[in-house]
């Protein structure tokens, strides 16, 4: 069985990152993401690993390393991801390519550290202040975690921005048979700090002016950031669509929840976005073919709001809370959704 091995989700992140050419990792241990830090320590010749005093220091160290030309990554879970938000905004403003891995756990606050959740979706998109347009990828198997980690680095390099790789406590700690599929690497074109005349400032900047104070300068900056990430994201429009003959219901699920949703692939069609943000226009198109769209997610209704906004009609919703990812819960939820819409 060549090419097949048994691997934990978090280890797959580390392997993928090393494959992608990771130079620098800064992080602070947190359940259920710590194994990523532990695994990377095993590559002393390739990756410089720093255990920082907290997550704020970690993200800022990564921004610094990225500006200096390194491929940088940090990994955390919900509480740490909250702390990192300001640094993530900084990364977008100074156009620092880096990867942030968020192995989501039940929150808010300390919540349930060893249980998986999907409560950080909106935080990925709008957690930092101001306008920015992050690329967020969310695989659902150990094999896919490996490949998407490499994609996350590529997307960061191409977009010169922080890219979030989402997983969850279920996937992070899950061991399963995996096949590691590589993708070609993208290389950076921008010169590192100290080379050329680029400004590295968190203030609104325009051209070679480090502190623009007119509204038009800011409008242009934001428009440029939006156009840049949208252009790159188009090349990372990953999703899985499983249609089924005669089905009138489309299930939308991702990450660990989508694994449970697979149990219904005989009766319902399934759409699984891998690129969570920017949201996939393909979903709007596919949803038109179904009478009913039902979002299954491990939070109290985050992506559901956005799917409704995207497809301009109400959608059914099945929340999986407190770390439970039960097929029986989905079954009950589906029954309820069917009753409501008939």
């Amino acid at each position: 069985m060549t090419g097949r091995l048994i691997l934990q989700g978090n280890d797959a992140v580390a392997l993928g990152a090393v494959k992608a050419g990771l130079d620098f990792f800064a992080g602070y241990p947190i359940t259920p993401a710590s194994e990523i830090l532990h695994a990377l320590v095993e590559y002393p010749g390739q990756v410089k690993v720093l255990q920082m005093e907290d997550e704020i220091a970690s993200i800022n160290a990564c921004v610094g390393a990225a500006l200096a030309g390194a491929k940088a990554m940090t990994a955390t879970s919900g509480p740490g991801f909250s702390l990192m938000q300001e640094g993530i905004g900084l990364g977008h403003m100074v156009e620092a390519p880096l990867v942030i891995v968020d192995v989501q756990r039940v929150g808010p606050s300390t919540g349930m550290p060893t249980f998986g959740a999907q409560g950080d979706l909106l935080q990925c998109r709008w957690g930092s202040h101001g306008d920015y347009f992050p690329i967020v990828l969310y695989p659902n198997s150990v094999s896919e975690i490996y490949t998407q980690t490499i994609h996350a680095f590529n997307a960061a390099e191409e977009s010169m921005s922080p890219v979030v790789l989402l997983t969850d406590g279920c996937l992070g700690h899950l061991f399963e048979t995996a096949e590691l599929v590589d993708v070609p690497l993208k290389t950076r074109t921008a010169r590192p700090l100290g080379g050329g005349s680029r400004h590295f400032t968190s203030l609104t900047h325009a051209g070679d002016h480090p502190k623009a104070t007119v509204p038009s300068a800011h409008q242009e900056l934001i428009a440029a950031l939006a156009a840049k990430t949208a252009g790159v994201a188009a090349r990372y429009a990953f999703y899985e669509y499983l249609p089924v003959k005669g089905a009138d219901t489309l299930l939308v699920a991702f990450g660990a929840a989508s694994r449970a949703a697979y149990h219904f692939k005989g009766e319902c069609a399934i759409f699984r976005p891998i690129r969570i943000f920017p949201m996939l226009e393909e979903l709007a198109e596919i949803a038109r073919g179904y009478r009913r769209v039902v979002v299954i997610e491990m939070n109290a209704g985050q992506y559901k709001l956005l799917v409704e906004a995207l497809i301009h009609r109400p959608v059914g919703f099945i929340p999986l809370l407190g770390g439970a990812v039960r097929v029986s819960q989905i079954e009950e939820g589906l029954k309820k959704c069917l009753q409501e819409s008939t």
Partner: protein, 200 residues
């Protein structure tokens, strides 16, 4: 005993009993036999000695959800785990109970219990920590999920070099668990005493 096409297993006990090692070992052995496997651990972040359990699925087909809600088999190493997981077991499910540490037999009549004093057997072998392998040996004697020799190969693969000397006692422990089930006599007597009927 036919080859099991899909086994959904819960292994449970307290931290330190080698619960996660058992899960990983089955997973590794399953992979060595070219099957699809998932292993999902669950344990407290702050409490050592607290409840620890894992979900293992070994299957001929790709595994959708790695979460085991209705196990086809369970290996129960302490009393709290029996209370928690016995009701979840599927009908006709197999339940291996470490009778050395569990203070009551299985209650359900629609499951197949094996009561094995795994910790006592491990003590007799000279290392209480191989109780997990005794229980696993008993499980593998009942269910053809992976071959015993593949389980042994997985032990060798998983033990780090500085623990190489423990391969032999793990082999013995697996064998003890297997022969315990194969003789079955002790369990039948135990069942008669505690439940008033023989174990079938």
């Amino acid at each position: 005993m036919g080859r099991v096409q899909q086994e959904r297993l819960i292994i449970a006990g307290f931290g330190g009993q080698g619960i996660m090692f058992m899960g990983k070992l089955l997973c590794c052995a399953g992979m060595l036999e070219g099957r699809h496997v998932t292993y999902m651990p669950s344990y407290g972040a702050e409490v050592r000695g607290g409840t620890a359990y894992c979900n293992v699925i070994v299957s001929d087909e790709e595994i959708p959800s790695p979460v085991v809600a209705e196990p086809t088999a369970a290996i129960i190493m302490n009393t709290p785990s029996l209370i928690k997981f016995e009701p979840m077991l599927a009908k006709k499910g197999l339940i291996i109970i470490n009778s050395a540490l569990v203070d009551r037999p299985a209650k359900r009549r629609d499951v197949e219990p094996i009561h094995i004093p795994a910790t006592n057997i491990a003590d007799r072998l000279g290392n209480t920590r191989v109780a997990n392998m005794v229980a696993l040996g008993a499980f593998l004697a009942k269910r053809d999920v992976v071959q015993m020799q593949t389980a042994l190969a997985a032990v060798e693969e998983m033990l780090p070099p500085y623990r190489r000397h423990l391969v032999e006692i793990n082999r013995q422990a697996l064998g003890e668990g297997k022969s315990f089930v194969e003789s079955r006599s002790a369990d039948a007597i135990w069942g008669k005493i505690t439940r008033g009927f023989g174990f079938g």
